[in-house]
Amino acid sequence: MTQPIIEIRDLERRFQLPRESLFRPASTVYALNGINLTVEPRRSFGIVGESGCGKSTLARIIMGLDKPSSGTVKVKGKDITAISPAELRKMRSDFQMVFQDPFGSLNPRHHVERIVAEPLFAVGGTESKQERKEKVAEALTSVGLRPTDMEKYPHEFSGGQRQRVAIARALITRPSLIVADEPVSALDVSVQAQVLNLLRDLEDQFGITFVFISHNLAVVDYACQDAAVIYLGRIVEQGPTSQLFNNPLHPYTQSLVDAVPHVGVKNRRVARQAPTALKTQTAAQTGCTFAGRCSFAKERCRVEQPALRDVDGGHSVACHFFEATRSDRASAQTAVAV
């Protein structure tokens, strides 16, 4: 068996809120709670959830930009929470990040050559100026830009091209892992398609594994082989995307899938809706985190936290009653169809 590229065990990240009253203890937000996940090499992994669920915190922790409160995060077998900053810096050449906003993540005062070469300086590369230029040219070519573009400044590019520059910057150190936090959500539909195709080409060409964070389910379904759905800092469902989105088991995943607007399905009545909005979770409550919004919640859900259990072949779900909700949903859908 090959070594997983990312292995996360019992990850927890708590944030202490400022004390509201002198006479009460400060409350704690559980941004991530008991996260276990494994990303296999060359199987791109999607992380899905609503804003505030902790998906970006998870990305930052995988990149070593934030420290977990407890638990281990192994990237290629090395626990990045335990190594020194100098070692982490060296390892970074093997894992890079692409951010959501191609306008904010590129320094407007630097030309593209400097921007794309930046990681080489950061990892303490020893190449000559000429070699660096060649590497930048190569990276730009592989994202579909011209080598001559390296003399330009970010403002001279369109949104899609800027995102390509950001991807070129991530590519230049030849990483085996790229964490992409909402890489296409700021882009127009036709440009989004170009960037998604590019990411897939890079996957095939360089054997890069992507960790792809997005709120757009169809994009994750297209770009990734595996995915996890996070709700309030916990993974509620996880598995191959083909199963996860075609046959969602957790009521939360179902409501997400149902909520996506579809072309040509006018005035569709939605079978499942999650009634109220996401709340941040303070204090380690007992019971299922989704119980308050779940239309299937029973007594057991309020007292016992459901564990993530494997249902079939790597598809796992954290719900006590997923069998029941599945059949309910099926009948509800036939009712809607009729």
């Binding site: 609503e50 899609g160 036709s190 398609a193 909520a259 607007p261 579809h262 072309v263 006018k266 005035n267």
Partner: protein, 324 residues
């Protein structure tokens, strides 16, 4: 009820006028909905701002916007103020920035009621409670005195909708109403808008880059590209049989559930021509895979493919055949 004819939006430049929106025409009846779809820079938001008389500085609208017999473009700014928020209302993309952060939401909902309907403060407050309750703000009477930062994004958008509804507008313009929201919240807001349209018989104009949102919400739609309308028709027909190559390629570029991994997304090569570039050819010609010599001669006229379904393409309606 709302008739827009040859609406042009132009920016007066130093040397020449730059055309931002060209010849937009449509009609909309009470209780009906229209979707305007396009990528950034297509002129869809400028069209919305022109309808509201909110175009910035040096940008001018010409043509005709006729709302129930009243010509909006002929009104003075002062007269427009009595129409805006009263007969036509708008909700914006960013519920965070479009609400005033230092006023309670009760005051903001009551403002148009006092201004346009001449209600007393007390009466406006009562009406504000009813409106907030209608848009699904729980415990509305108590929430009147909270500030926008105390509400979630979805709730803020509900407050925006309550403000827009306050004077029972004839037309509601929603510019990307759900773009900043999560999918489950988006679903609730879309359902709310749909209910309100059937309840109040107002006309709804939704502007969005999300074809899914447009596809679910509207009766008719306009597809805009580079400041021009390239296709217009009933939404279900446009989606089922796009007549313009741009619409067709745009639909193919969206990732769908259950696409196989070997399948590549179709892309549209190139980029949209810059605003104001003078085109002697079809505006899409540079990116179109069906382009022929005739396309480069002159901008194409609207070709009718079906009942009230038109596209600005000389090959309109044969787009699908040619591909297959």
């Amino acid at each position: 009820m709302l008739q827009v004819k040859n609406l042009n939006v132009t920016l007066a430049g130093a040397t020449r006028d730059i055309s931002i929106v060209k010849d937009v025409s449509f009609e909309l009846d009470a209780g009906r909905s229209l979707g305007v779809v396009g990528e950034s820079g297509s002129g869809k938001s400028m069209t919305a701002l022109a309808l509201m008389g909110l175009l910035p500085g040096a940008i001018r609208a010409s043509g005709s916007i006729n709302l129930a017999g009243q010509e909006l473009l002929a009104l003075s700014e002062q007269e427009m103020c009595s129409v805006r928020g009263n007969k036509v209302a708008m909700i914006f993309q960013e519920p965070m920035t479009s609400l005033n952060p230092v006023q309670t939401i009760g005051r903001q909902v009551a403002e148009p009621l006092i201004l346009h309907k001449g209600m007393t403060r007390a009466a406006a407050r009562q009406e504000a409670i009813r409106l907030l309750d209608r848009v699904g703000i729980p415990d509305a009477a108590r929430r009147l005195d909270v500030y926008p930062h105390q509400l979630s994004g979805g709730q803020r958008q509900r407050v925006m909708i309550a403000i827009a509804l306050s004077c029972s507008p004839k037309v509601l313009v929603a510019d990307e109403p759900t773009t900043a929201l999560d999918v489950t919240v988006q679903r609730q807001i879309l359902d709310l808008l749909r209910e309100l349209v059937s309840e109040t018989r107002m006309a709804l104009i939704i502007i969005s880059h999300d074809l899914g949102v447009i596809g679910e919400m509207v009766d008719e739609m306009l597809v805009m590209y580079g400041g021009n309308v390239v296709e217009r028709g009933q939404a279900d027909k446009v989606f089922a049989q796009p007549a313009h190559p741009y619409t067709s390629r745009l639909l193919e570029a969206i990732p769908r559930f259950g696409m196989s991994r070997s399948e590549r997304l179709k892309t549209i090569p190139g980029t949209m021509p810059e605003i104001g570039s003078e085109m002697k050819s079809c505006i899409f010609a540079g990116r179109c895979d069906l382009v022929c010599a005739d396309c480069l001669q002159a901008p194409p006229p609207f070709v009718s493919v079906d009942d009230a379904h038109v596209a600005a393409c000389i090959k309109a309606g044969r787009v699908m055949e040619t591909v297959q």
